[in-house]
Symmetry: C2
Subunit: 101 residues, 2 copies
Amino acid sequence: MRRDIFQAIADPTRRAILSLLALQAMTPNAIAEHFESSRQAVSKHIQILTECEVVKHQQTGREIYYHFNPEKMKEIDIWLDRFRKLWDDRFDQLDDILKDL
Amino acid sequence: MRRDIFQAIADPTRRAILSLLALQAMTPNAIAEHFESSRQAVSKHIQILTECEVVKHQQTGREIYYHFNPEKMKEIDIWLDRFRKLWDDRFDQLDDILKDL
DNA sequence: TATAAACGCAACTAATTAGTTGCGCAAGTT
DNA sequence: AACTTGCGCAACTAATTAGTTGCGTTTATA
């Protein structure tokens, strides 16, 4: 089962969940209230986000708070870096990219 | 059919194709040579990349050269921006993000 | 003009994903 | 002790995706 950060953010619901969790830690029920989807559907997305470690959890009584983990997002940023040069810079792009690979 | 840039980069083969095309425009056959996959399988990926405009094509005789379009990658970068603050900055992060949304 | 190369497109299959329903368990409440 | 709430987990279905095979068209080559 492929389960990396790129797979995680492919789904719009999961991107929305990440945006929510970036603001504050939340329980599955609280998250689900923001969507049309059922709690279980949301829970499945959370599970995927947890598996690829972009989200961590912390239990408090019977509630489980999910936290956003910015660390994993860096991976996307790092991958983007090679392309960023193509829209940032003017010319000597190719050399830079070739150096990276 | 969901066909956005996030969907496009979810597949590792497509990410590899984008990396190749960022270096130089290539024909489907040339691209396929870099992978285990068949030409048709690669062609399908290219089609998806074309649909979400992260790749453009230009015909020369019987060959079709596919070019990387950095513009579309900006969308990812822009989306990442809100999270970037969480790993770049130290404190006053929440305020910044709340301001964005 | 016959043949080969470079493709796109359509039909099909296999695998994966998103979502639903129903269950069970642990932690609080009455 | 009985009931409710918050949750995970498993089985199932429907939709989507990745990949294959085969065919037709256009451009080049012998």
